[in-house]
């Protein structure tokens, strides 16, 4: 379920991770967040001081930060940025939720970010 309404946290737990300068992948199970189902959205909050790049997949994935080109697209990367201090909400596909892995990487060590699963925007 999802829709055009404000984000509503599911009655489970938020979970926190710490990103570093090397790609890390972590599996998240329903039992980890106290639910017996998967919500359709996840709200992310980067409380660190620099960007954290994340990727949702159905398997552990080594990710790299995209490299900008000067007059080209450079080298795209398999991840999206989380700006420090900014909330982002993303949808999750059924493919990802079948076996959810979250990969992260940052340009600095010890960058904390938090995930809250729920529904809405």
């Amino acid at each position: 379920m999802a829709g055009n309404f404000p984000f509503t946290p599911s009655p489970g737990f938020s979970i926190g991770f710490t990103a570093g300068t090397s790609s890390q992948s972590r599996q998240v199970k329903q039992s980890d967040i106290g639910l017996n189902y998967w919500p359709s959205q996840v709200r992310l909050f980067n409380t660190g001081t620099v960007l954290v790049w994340i990727y949702f997949a159905a398997q552990p994935t080594a990710i790299t930060i995209p490299i900008p080109g000067t007059n080209t697209v450079g080298t795209p990367g398999q991840c999206v940025p989380l700006v420090p201090g900014i909330l982002e909400v993303f949808s999750l596909s059924n493919f990802q939720l079948a076996n959810l892995w979250i990969s992260d990487i940052s340009t600095a060590t010890s960058q904390n970010y938090y995930l809250t699963f729920g529904e809405g925007l």
Binding site: A2, I67, N71, V73, P76, G77, V80, V89, L121
Partner: protein, 136 residues
Amino acid sequence: MASFDAFLPQSLTILVVTSGTTLTPLSQPITFPTLMGIQIPPPVAWVSNLSAGVVWFSITIGARTAAIPAGGATSFEVPIQPNQTLTFRYPWAQGGAGSEGTGGGPGVQGVAALNINTIAVGTSAQLAVTFGEGKF
């Protein structure tokens, strides 16, 4: 997936860099199948300004010279503030010279390549662009 859902990333993410303090515009062509890891362009672009200054940008079919619409001038480009993320339907226009008002706006089908046209006041301003479905 309905467009009212939160954004679902479906492509690789590119970093678009706008270089120089001389307001040098850059056009960044994207060819979807080869560069973005997908075959069919998703309907929206999720754009995040990772720099410390305002970036002006547009997403068009043809390359165009980005411009800041200062002093009563006009431009296709829109501003995005530092640390702001927004989603946009694209392309906004054909974008080629003299194409203003000729269509090619959001929802055009079969677009295999796009240009992201950027301009910024600051040095090495970066936009992250990911294509997918949904909204912010």
